[in-house]
Symmetry: C2
Subunit: 461 residues, 2 copies
């Protein structure tokens, strides 16, 4: 179409909402560069005639685009395209990296066993029954319903001594760990000893909070906490007492006593990451360290292992003296989904959580047994180490073979992790051989599991 | 019950799960102090006889409590209660502060109109249809489904130019603002000019990221962005161009052009908080500034105003050059609920979001008209100011009366905010009178609204 005065706008109007259509078409013409900066637009009367629409529609459209800044209107010079920067065209999104055929990697992308129906049933009950006030910003520390449900659950299942007022809801343990680090810094603690084997992402969170993280050696009795006595600068220690991650050993009873004694003597703080405490297959799980000394332990638990990471729900139990600093570090507005908090609270209260954990425990126990069978009778040095617990297991390898085994796994479409990937960069290089692979047997679906085990059997020496 | 050797344990065992019951009862006896540190426990055989249970049950229970650290077992000295710190008893939670009778405060606790049924329908579809991989940790920047749905929505409704790759999902604008501040600091920007009227919580977020926040005066044409030229240290400006918060004016067209020109000339960044851009009642909403110059504007939007704060879902659109720093500042694991992200994506894609916003717009327009009627014909100087838009309105007051009006409101159970509460602490004390109250007309329920308006009418001079 051709406007009698000014440029040919080549506008195409679709649908019946004329003004919106005209405004959108003009904006796009400016944005795409078809109408260059400075270009004078047709007079409203001319364009209205051209398009066969009311002049007022064109006037309103011009006014809107002037208000937005796409056009300039100056008395005597008409309406012109404003000066502006040319945006880039959108690029197609990159293809995501292809997933391996058999995914047994810790932190695997998939999580096959999310309890969709019971979770949605809890969501329906929780969202349906929530008072109006539940849909606002809420308590920055978390919904009281969830903190109360967790208080009871953690006491019953993990021996944790948690007043709801001491429970803080977070979006994952790594979120809580960042909060704890910031809180400890305000208390003058800027060195947190960490286990020499652990998650790189946790070390990064602490590092980003400007905390020093000297490594504590790990052996078959867990972290060597007696070394804390020599680390005069360490004011806290991050531990996985129930099931060392990823080596799979429990912190021995005398070491549990030792680290608490250290905390009391020095005013230190134990950060207890109880990531998979619900899952033990040979006996009842060992209770949390926190119950023994709630004044010196910050306890971290999560729904990522017991339900699924997608919930982004975790919790920490905080000693009284650290509560103000933790509350400040968490911020004045909650960042954790309140609907999910209400849903998890119903999920726990109605027993759906217990049922889910019990069902998963049976599946994981069976899978771990099958893993043990697959590993049995190989070359000397190839064996399952660590406790019958958790969501991952460690298969030790003959010294010097880890890289070769990982290479073979990769060639066979099998994703597992090398134990060395979890080693603290500052750990003692004289460390004895720790060649091993870490196998996540929990995230994969039932149907994919047998082929994954077969693939593993195929690449072990 | 009395054990033949050692102390009377006064254990009461309930139910059939004997070992769990015995372990829990013993742990509780130690925790509560009924069994003091050092106390020697009965021999396993004696206790088993006493309780009429198998000795192996008692042995396993003792072993578990030794492993947890509650008991010590030493050859020759039997099993004793370990030394430990006495925890405090839980205190009853404090009563929450009583809510006012009529809550018209910005950021009111309630949110009466959450679309429970359509949201749950979206949750059911989204969670039901999600692939296994959706239940893992996910893309740290947010789910691609939501980023794609928002890209289309923001372009259509707000004129925002957003490639999904540039969209980042956050838990609220204040979360995104903290991320942006950290990213800008790594780019060498440590001063962000903010509007002289605004949210204290946003100023606090920036302050906590060690950013300086000089105030920009605000008048009836929005923030006086021409002052940016004199603030040589300011590398960014946080603005609410569509609807200044809380004064309610739009940033004038020449100021929109001016601030973008400033950004291009100085390499500055505009942080555009488009918190309630969907809601305008007298005409079509003005599009976002971001569309005019996606390379110099970080755009912030939120579901807190259009749906409810409880979702803790917001988004930012980030210029290409800031993406790496923003991604680093957001962290390597997403903290935003992935289920809620999937649900919102369905809510947008199926049109439920548009329907909800349209329905709320009608309600809010009517309420704002009723508010205008309630304010009309009072003392000179009492009038509704700002645009017919958004979720809050400002009622100007005669100079020097704000505190008196707020006092009267409080006595009548009416919660509203004084405009002075939003004033930047470093704003010019020579500022002309700005006595006014800010009234949130959106969060209250339909049934409570008429009485709240009546209460407001009762206290206005």
């Amino acid at each position: 179409m051709l406007a009698k005065a000014g440029v040919d706008l080549h506008l195409e109007l679709h649908g019946t909402r004329l003004r919106a259509g005209l405004t959108g078409a003009l904006r796009e013409a400016v944005r795409s560069g078809r109408l260059a900066p400075g270009t004078r637009l047709p007079a409203t009367r001319a364009l209205a005639e051209d398009l066969g629409i009311a002049r007022s529609t064109v006037t309103e459209c011009y006014e809107e685009l002037v208000a937005e800044g796409w056009l300039n209107a100056r008395r005597g010079s008409g309406t012109r395209v404003a000066d502006r920067v040319q945006p880039r065209r959108p690029k197609p999104a990159d293809d995501p990296a292809p997933r391996p055929q058999h995914d047994l990697e810790p932190g695997a992308a998939g999580y096959a066993d999310f309890p969709r129906a019971p979770w949605l049933a809890s969501a329906k009950r929780a969202v349906g029954a929530a008072p109006h006030t539940a849909f606002g910003y809420g308590d920055p520390l978390g919904r009281i319903e969830l903190r109360t449900a967790l208080s009871e659950y953690l006491n019953r299942v993990r021996g944790v001594y948690a007043d709801p007022a001491h429970l803080v809801i977070t979006s994952g343990v790594h979120h809580g760990l960042g909060i704890a680090a910031r809180a400890l810094r305000t208390e003058g603690i800027d060195t947190i000893a960490v286990e020499a084997f652990g998650l790189d992402i946790y070390r990064a969170v602490l590092h980003d909070e400007n905390v020093d993280i000297p490594p504590l050696m790990v052996d078959t009795r867990g972290a060597r906490v007696s070394d804390l006595g020599d680390m005069v600068e360490a004011g806290a220690a991050l531990l996985t007492p129930a099931h060392q991650f990823p080596t799979g050993y429990a912190l021995a009873p005398e070491r549990r006593a030792h680290v608490l004694e250290w905390a009391r003597r020095t005013g230190g703080v134990v950060l207890e990451d109880d990531y998979d405490g619900e899952f033990r297959y040979d006996r009842r799980p060992i209770g949390a360290l926190q119950g023994l000394d709630p004044d010196h332990v910050v306890y971290f638990g999560t729904a990522s292992k017991s339900i699924a990471p997608a919930l982004r729900l975790a919790w920490m139990v905080v000693p009284e003296r650290l509560l103000p600093a933790v509350a400040h570090a968490k911020g004045r507005v909650d960042t954790v989904s309140i609907l999910d908090q209400l849903t998890l609270s119903d999920f726990i209260r109605t027993g759906a959580f217990d049922r889910h954990v019990r069902a998963r425990r049976l599946v994981y126990r069976r899978r771990r047994d099958e893993l043990a069978a697959a590993v049995a009778g190989r070359t000397t040095g190839v064996r399952l180490v660590g406790m019958a617990a958790g969501l991952q297991a460690v298969v030790s390898l003959p010294a010097g073979t880890e890289a070769r085994v990982l290479g073979a796994a990769s060639r066979h479409g099998l994703a597992v992790a090398g134990l060395s990937e979890f080693l603290h960069p500052a750990a003692d290089p004289e460390w004895p051989s720790h060649d091993a692979i870490v196998v996540n047997f929990a995230s994969i679906s039932d149907s994919a599991w047998p082929r994954a085990v077969a693939a593993l059997r195929g690449i072990l020496p």
